[in-house]
Amino acid sequence: MHELAIAHALVEQLLDQAEQAGAQVVYSVKIRIGALADVLEDPLRLGFEVATQGTVAAGARLDIVHIPVSIECEACGEMVELPQTIPLACPTCGTSNIAIRRGRELDLESLEVDQ
């Protein structure tokens, strides 16, 4: 259940940002989670709800953008988005000589605030 620790870090960070901007209300929060980040949506939402209670972000909507894995194939040299996470291999030429370019994200993208 590391999602609770992640939710805690997320809320701490967004409250900092909201305070710096002088916001009184946070309406929504957008985050990006890569397919390789090993983060489950439900416990993260639960943690977010708990951690925002009594703050300017209480009741804020959590928008989660899921990022599939993209690899750069050393053989074809192309960026390819994988249809599924596993196997981590080039879907075109089958080689596993690849570099992961996307899919490890665990980012706070933006906040929607009152001011």
């Binding site: 259940m1 590391h2 620790a5 992640i6 870090a9 997320l10 701490e12 960070q13 967004l14 940002q17 909201a18 901007a21 916001a23 309406y27 985050i31 390789l36 980040a37 090993d38 983060v39 996470t85 596993i86 196997p87 981590l88 291999a89 596993s96 000589n97 690849i98 992961i100 665990l106 980012d107 706070l108 993208e109 933006s110 906040l111 929607e112 605030v113 009152d114 001011q115």
Partner: protein, 225 residues
Amino acid sequence: MTDSKYKAPRILEVRQRILKQNDELARQMRSDFAAAGLFVVNLVSSPGAGKTTLLEETLRRLIADGYRVAAIVGDLETDNDAKKLSRSGAPVRQIMTHGCCHLEADMVLHQLADWALDQLDFLFIENVGNLVCPTSWDLGESLRVALLSVAEGEDKPLKYPGLFNTADVVVLTKIDLAEACEFDREATLSNIAAVRPGIRVIETSSKKGDGMEGWVRDLIERLGR
């Protein structure tokens, strides 16, 4: 009808890692470790894969070769592992996380406060036994090692891709039990390659000694002295 108090919502772009605070601390620690000439190994695996037994034997062998080693071990409760590891003669500290399922950079840093890092060659961090949660927290390590015991089933890497994908080396443990566990080596290696192409896999038995020399030699080569 306009409400004078109403203000149109605006978007604040942030674009930061959610674990930014941990990441930044870990980056600083990695740079401090490098400056002190210290090689730091983060051991991750499920509970019971053999982290403590591998580590005890590794500490013994490195001490016998004249290297200065220390260990930090994380568990939810008890200092049993620290006691066990201390038998090797290495200084060992226990982190009791009291329910937290992984170690974070500041927990490690806190333990290091009064250790002279430049008097050490290797520091081993035995993470909390868990195949999911430790993945996201960088501890400033030089090498992340995922352990997988032959008793666990060859599809573990497919079930927990994140942990194996962030590892630098996989150590297959309890290889002396391979036959009894009907261990399928080929399937295991192919599953590891599916989630972490090209990763080095070392087979060991901490109890019988198989593969231990190669594992320790690999560490010494990585230390580079």
